[in-house]
Subunit: 353 residues, 2 copies
């Protein structure tokens, strides 16, 4: 019955997102969502939408939003690209820049969508090794003309590399485009957006899903030299002219106008992260030094797989991958203080049994 | 400076949407938007969105919306695919089903995004000729195993083919997937959605942008046999897991619950279309027999290019293509009665001068 499937469709192994279980008492620490709502100005912008704006096509170029993002990050509008979530931005960037026939380099542990894009787009991946502390080393990337992509902080490890290290890399690989995926950069990693005008081989991705509490709105962005953005726009305008609906554009704009609120949420999450990391270490978990809104933690008195299953039974969802390099570890999103206290209590109950 | 551009980026000629000029007195008849707002229930659904829904990821499968669309069209949920506008649905369908290496057949005059997708995805197009009345003939498509796509009604011609003709085609080309793009089917063409369970080689595309007055929300759908939908989902989940934000899903759902309002808007547009067609024919325009929310019209006492420019100067926007087969014609979206009366008055003024 799959006689109409192309070889492409047959070979794909799609990305699997974290479980979206619903229910009142579920503590959802498995998809790195922000536990705090977006600024009230976002809801206000959404509620005040004009009916005429719904019946008309949105601005295909999202000019107002791009201008605001440019101001926010101290770059020019021509340096900004926006898309339907950072996943779409990544997909379009892979299509535009990593399909030239040379291998794409990325860490062997990282965002699990990268190999999926490679499969979809016929890109050969070159995996850069991760050491036993889950670190990868910038000097292992080569100037191969194919491409480099990594998340900073990395997922699911939560570890960050410094802006100075990235700048060293950019200098060393002038023929190779480097995509720095800053999905989680709001929580402590050093951004490299300010380097885009110095390094034409730098493309930086961002998302509204984590720091800005807007995973439901699907807003992603990328920052680069104008010529890199122009190439992305050519691909976007050959795929889907209007990726951002009118409400997403307005909501994205409203989020940028309440910096104090945004900062206070980020600070609370960072404080909770440091607290839960300490609590789990006291219980002899290994916990990596997170710069993100999640931690990567390995229990010692119970297997990670068993703890994952036992937490899930108690409606506490965390993320677990049954793969050789990851199966001793859990990725736990940072919720509210209350969420994390319940997590600690549940861990204590489970370990005691 | 384009040293990072791949051959793909260099060869692209992106799609160009109609001008989105803004302003109070502009009469916008150039992008086939619906002149009436969506049902008030859509705005209500948008305004009542829960903050928690914004900070969380949306349902990646859009299950509730797909279930509602299935009920509405009397098919099963497994027969329904949704995407970020029908352009994204088309792009993913082209990727999934038309990249097998054999040519894709489509009419030489049709939606101008089809050749753009072919270019992006390295698909060889085979153009089926259009006669001097702007008709294409179903019996010119071959069972080539590559694919067939056409809009019904066709754009920019506004002409429709019958469901019986499409069924004859589906029987004759059992090895070839046929994408019937029903973006404009709400306004008078016969839908073939009811045939999807009989013909596994049928894929039908729909949009909320025209009949449902929601171009601003970017909602598209496709209907087919479960295995065709499964293949589409594999590609979608290898490209972007969450293409529909939570508000688009809720708004799409709300639109389906007010059938009477939707019907009344469609009826008004059809009545206005028939009125303006007659008015322009009285002024010796050729006007094709539209089954859509736009007309395709050719003036005789002035060139189409001159009329287009003169209307634009008076802030009445219509669509014009300066290409050999199209340059005597204008595509004019159906606005309100008042919009169209102003159009007729402007035409009379311009022709008199």
């Amino acid at each position: 019955m799959d006689k109409y499937w192309t070889p492409l469709v047959k070979r794909l192994t799609p990305y699997v997102p974290g479980e979206q279980r619903n229910g009142k008492n579920i503590i959802k620490l498995n998809t790195n969502e922000n536990p705090y709502p977006p600024t009230p100005q976002v809801k206000q912008a959404i509620a005040s939408i004009d009916e005429d704006a719904i019946r008309r096509y949105p601005d295909p170029e999202s000019d107002e939003l791009r201008r605001a993002l440019a101001n926010y990050h101290h770059v020019q509008q021509r340096n900004v690209f926006v898309g339907n979530g950072s996943d779409e931005v990544l997909a379009l960037a892979f299509m535009a820049y990593f399909t030239g026939g040379k291998p794409l380099q990325f860490p062997e542990i990282g965002y699990s969508f990268y190999p999926v894009y490679c499969d979809l787009l016929n890109i050969t991946p070159t995996l850069v090794p991760i050491d036993s502390d889950f670190k990868f080393y910038i000097d292992q990337f080569e100037n191969n003309g194919g491409g480099i992509v990594f998340a900073n902080p990395n997922a699911p490890t939560s570890l960050a590399v410094s802006a100075a290290d990235i700048e060293t890399l950019l200098k060393r690989v002038p023929d190779t485009l480097v995509f720095v995926d800053e999905a989680y950069a709001d929580f402590g990693a050093e951004s490299v957006i300010h380097l885009i005008n110095q390094y034409p081989n730098l493309l930086v991705g961002r998302t509204y899903s984590k720091g800005r509490s807007m995973a439901g709105m699907r807003l992603g962005a990328a920052f680069a030299d104008q010529h890199i953005i122009d190439g992305l726009l050519r691909v976007k305008n050959s795929f889907n002219s209007y990726p951002l609906d009118v409400i997403a554009q307005k909501a994205g704009l409203a989020s940028l106008s309440d910096e104090a609120y945004y900062r206070s949420c980020v600070e609370k999450i960072v404080a909770t992260r440091d607290w839960i990391s300490a609590e789990l270490r006291q219980r002899s978990f290994k916990v990596l030094d997170s710069k993100s809104n999640f931690i990567f933690a390995s229990p010692t008195s119970i297997s990670a797989g068993k703890l994952f299953a036992a937490l899930s039974e108690q409606d506490i969802l965390v993320r677990y991958w049954d793969k050789p390099a990851l199966r001793d570890w859990l990725r736990i999103s940072i919720g509210t203080n209350d969420d994390m206290q319940k997590l600690v209590a549940a861990v204590d109950r489970i370990v005691r049994q």
